[in-house]
Symmetry: C2
Subunit: 433 residues, 2 copies
Amino acid sequence: MPQALRIGLLGCGTVGTGVAKILSEKAQELTRITGRPLTLCRVVVRDVTKLRDSVIPVNLITGDPTTLFSEPLDVVVEVAGGIGPIRDIVIKCLESGRDLITANKALLAEWGSEIFEQARKHGRAIGFEAAVAGGIPIIRAISEGMVANRITAILGILNGTSNYILTRMADDGLTYSEALVEAQKMGYAEANPSLDVDGTDAAHKLAILAHLAFGVQPPLESIPRRGINNLDAVDICFASELGYTIKLLAESWNRNGKLAMHVSPVLLKKQAPMAQVRGAYNAVALVGDAVEDTLYYGKGAGMLPTASSIVANLVDIASSRERMVQQSRLLWPKGKNNGPPILPDTDLKSRFYLRLLVPDRPGIMAEVAGILATFKISIASVIQHESTSSPPNRVQMVIMTHEAFASDFRLAVAEIDRRAFAIFPVTHYPVAD
Amino acid sequence: MPQALRIGLLGCGTVGTGVAKILSEKAQELTRITGRPLTLCRVVVRDVTKLRDSVIPVNLITGDPTTLFSEPLDVVVEVAGGIGPIRDIVIKCLESGRDLITANKALLAEWGSEIFEQARKHGRAIGFEAAVAGGIPIIRAISEGMVANRITAILGILNGTSNYILTRMADDGLTYSEALVEAQKMGYAEANPSLDVDGTDAAHKLAILAHLAFGVQPPLESIPRRGINNLDAVDICFASELGYTIKLLAESWNRNGKLAMHVSPVLLKKQAPMAQVRGAYNAVALVGDAVEDTLYYGKGAGMLPTASSIVANLVDIASSRERMVQQSRLLWPKGKNNGPPILPDTDLKSRFYLRLLVPDRPGIMAEVAGILATFKISIASVIQHESTSSPPNRVQMVIMTHEAFASDFRLAVAEIDRRAFAIFPVTHYPVAD
């Protein structure tokens, strides 16, 4: 019998339990495929008194993380989340000769170069398929399947919680708060839902994909990001009237040797493939110079989809460690940003949606149109319904523009906001082609 | 400098040229990723006098396939297509210690166990990412990404030529013959277009995916298959009127421990994700017990998309040979069908579309409805337009049924075909839920 791959688990919430479940239920098949047993040897948890699923052997549970680098283990699976203390444990595990599998996008996006430096120093492999788009093997698709391609664009729905909320708001008329509570109950939201809905989680994931695809190591603050936490249902309704759906998109593309990237709610044509991505599903579109357009779709979170990616990485380490080590050697080189420079987001061109609440009196449309024209922004379509309210009569004015520079558009918005008729600041979102 | 991976190319048509192009243009990047150069050392062609792209060094070209197993090479890339003589060359390459990469679905589907037996015997690896769905890394997705899953269903648009023809017929009103000629001009059709349009190519690819997913080794004749070569444009129009698109689908799913599989034109709701797959694109939906629904989408054929998958396999062999050998060891075991038994297609349940050309006189609808009722088949909807032609007035009667067993449906069709009013045999297709 060949030697077992000895696994330590750091964290045992939903995903950790899923990993233990798959390792136990599919033990025979996984041994057949890798040629060696995958054996869970240690489970480190924060609260040892908490009741666990029966799939976790009680004698493996401990509250002491030092067991992960003092006991004989081959690989540590980190599914605890968070950064501070976890980063230190993970680095000690690499130092003491363990390979690492992590689902922690924040850790990679913010501390990738420190962690991979340790891996390189100690000849260790790091697998992180589960860190982006749960059940979709997107890391494998970029780093192996598309290895013969220069990637030119990434477009993704990467946050399942946001997409679930947007879907429930658009399809079933729920309010933002109702949909958020529901998403949390369904177990889709991360530990801290604010990172999901403010775009940070999607930006972390975009940073990881952009590193794999373009070599960049963008600090989080260099990725312009807006979440869905300030999105009003009224904009979903107007978008729908115009034939669009609003999705939280994470995008990055190479434009003449510079890299555009941002996370934002974006209006997408209803028939676009990304507009069809509903509920807790994720999707990633990749464009490569050889393969052209590709799209990957699947569950973005949840116990078994995420655990499925972690176990796939365990199989990688059990059967193809050499390759994983080689991959880890090339990733997140310290102090080197091998990618193209990042375009300031003001240089991006896009169509735009804007909405203003204005008094229902003559001349305002002319004034708004005039300001847009001043900044060379051309109007594509307008919606303004008849006012049905009693005085003070105020109406929503919705405008879709033709393509314009974000810098010009912002100046125009600032100018509109300064005018006397502007009751609230203009609401605006980019529109995808 | 580590040792180069020495590559021999068997065949140098569109795809072979694409491989040489990528190896040459991306030499530096590929060396960085694998840690060793990927070097083209020999190119075997049928016609040495033919003018080749300048990316193929003239001194490598030969008409003698024995060079592939007599000269020092590490891996042979087979992109010649066909079976007879190619099978023998490929087996000799494996015997003489070369790893193999092949894009040849017919070879794998029909001779998989012979070829993999040689690979096992000689400790060789076989890569075949390019054999199914060109640019989509679907082999990798099933055998690596979804390794922790029991797969329960596969649904694919696997033949780009057929899908191109169907798209042009549905979207632009081309006839079947016009669209076929166009597809051939675009370079989408295989050497022999009849294998594309009669469903054989899709059945070969389905056999490969079903082997990976379910362990079965179905002989080609056990896969019920119909192509698009007898599809009439009028059925595309009626389907559209009912809210459906017709696609050539390859399907296989586990039903209570038995495997259903078939290739057929199928009516799909227009808003279904598969219905959005246009032109020469392919798509594969996989359902796994852990990850649930996933979908992969990309170019199914063409020079660079297919070459991109071949080069990805070259990188696998250069950097992860051990794992590829282990995978090859488990595939197509000789004389063993490890999968579930295949359901006879008469046991499949489905909704059905049927169309009859009938005389425009009273009583026929009653007669048809009566026959369907006899076989417990319930009608969901009917289209019959007013006749506008001069005598003999004949009209198209189109019926969509509720779910029924294929066996019952066929008996009903046979009974309708026997009646005096039946001018032509009934045209019928299954309808997806």
